[in-house]
C-alpha cells in the first residue's frame, strides 16, 4: 500500500461529500467520490486498484450502501478491501445487516473527523 491512503467516499449528499473531502484531504488522504452505489461500482471498475478503503452512506438512490457492499464482496479484488458505513442510522438491525453484507465497521453521523481518521488508519494498516 502506498503511504497516502486513498479513500473512496460514496454519498448522495453534495454537502456531505464536501465535508468529507475537506476533513480527509486536510488529514493527508487522497479522496475520490461517488454519488451512489452505481456510480461507485462504475468508478471502481476502472480505478479499483488505487483504492485502499471505501466509506459509504446507506440511504442512496439507484443503489444503496447495503447492496454496494454485497456487490463488492462478490468481486474477488474487493473481498478484503475495508468498507466503513457512515450513516445517520444507528439501529442494531441496520448494523447487523451491514455486518452480514461484509462491512468492516459503522460510524454514526454527524461524523467526528478525528474519530473517522483514527478508524481509517486502524483498518488500513
Amino acid at each position: 500500500m502506498s503511504e497516502t491512503i486513498h479513500v473512496l467516499t460514496v454519498d448522495d449528499s453534495a454537502s456531505m461529500r464536501a465535508l468529507l473531502r475537506a476533513a480527509l484531504t486536510s488529514r493527508g488522504y487522497e479522496v475520490s467520490q461517488a454519488v451512489d452505489g452505481v456510480a461507485a461500482l462504475e468508478w471502481l471498475d476502472g480505478n479499483g486498484e488505487a483504492v485502499d478503503v471505501i466509506v459509504t452512506d446507506i440511504n442512496m438512490p439507484r443503489m444503496d450502501g447495503f447492496r454496494l457492499i454485497e456487490e463488492l464482496r462478490g468481486q474477488a479484488r474487493f473481498r478484503d478491501c475495508p468498507i466503513l458505513v457512515l450513516s445517520t442510522e444507528s439501529s442494531d438491525e441496520k448494523k447487523a445487516r451491514a455486518r452480514s453484507a461484509g462491512a468492516t465497521g459503522w460510524i454514526v453521523k454527524p461524523f467526528d473527523a478525528d474519530k473517522l481518521d483514527s478508524a481509517l488508519r486502524r483498518i488500513t494498516h
Partner: protein, 184 residues
C-alpha cells in the same frame, strides 16, 4: 389561514413541537408541526405527490472569535440529511421535494450575525442538493413562530416577542452518539 384538518373532520390535528436538534416527519394522521425560532433555522420539506412533509430545527456552532473559520456545518448537514432520509422513509422522493426556511434572526446586537450565517448555510445546502427553496422568511432582529401542516405543505410564520424563544444553544461538536465508531 386554516392549518388544521377540514372543518367537521372527526380528528383534530395533533400539535408537535419540534425543538432544537430535532426532526419530525408527518405520518398518516393530521398533525401541525410547530416551533419558535430566534437565530435557529427550521427547514420544512414537502413532497406534494406523496403528501409527506417534515421539519427540522438547528443552529450551527458559531466560529471562535478570530479563528477565521466558518461555522461548523457538520451538525447542520446531519440534521438536513436526517430530515431528507426520514422523508424518503415516509414515501417522499428527493427530486420532488420543495423547501421553506424560517428563522435566522440576529437576536443580539453587536455580536456575530449568526442568524445570517445559519440562513446562508440552509440556502447553500438546498442549492447543492437541488431542492427548490419556495419560501423563505429569515433575518431581521426578531423571533418567529412557525406552524407547518406536513400533509398539505402549508406554513404560517408569525413574528413573536424575543422572550418567547427558548434558550438556543449552538452544538459545537457532534451530538452524543454521533461520530461513534464500531468496528465489526
Amino acid at each position: 389561514m386554516v392549518l388544521a384538518a377540514a372543518v367537521g373532520s372527526p380528528e383534530e390535528p395533533r400539535r408537535i413541537t419540534v425543538m432544537q436538534g430535532q426532526v419530525h416527519v408527518g405520518g398518516d394522521r393530521p398533525e401541525i408541526l410547530t416551533t419558535i425560532l430566534g437565530s435557529c433555522i427550521a427547514c420544512c420539506l414537502y413532497d406534494p405527490v406523496a403528501r409527506v412533509g417534515g421539519m427540522n430545527h438547528f443552529l450551527l456552532a458559531e466560529p471562535a472569535a478570530g479563528s477565521g473559520t466558518v461555522a461548523d456545518q457538520n451538525y447542520g448537514v446531519y440534521l438536513m440529511e436526517l430530515l431528507i432520509n426520514q422523508m424518503m422513509t415516509g414515501g417522499g422522493v428527493k427530486s420532488r421535494m420543495k423547501a421553506h426556511i424560517y428563522g435566522g434572526g440576529n437576536m443580539h446586537a453587536g455580536m456575530t450575525r449568526i442568524g445570517d450565517v445559519n440562513a446562508r448555510f440552509a440556502r447553500s445546502f438546498l442549492a447543492a442538493e437541488g431542492i427548490p427553496l419556495v419560501r423563505e422568511e429569515t433575518g431581521g432582529e426578531w423571533a418567529r413562530r412557525v406552524e407547518f401542516d406536513p400533509m398539505l405543505g402549508r406554513t404560517r410564520c408569525r413574528i413573536v416577542a424575543p422572550g418567547a424563544v427558548p434558550a438556543e444553544r449552538a452544538v459545537a461538536r457532534p451530538m452524543p452518539g454521533g461520530g461513534e465508531v464500531e468496528l465489526f
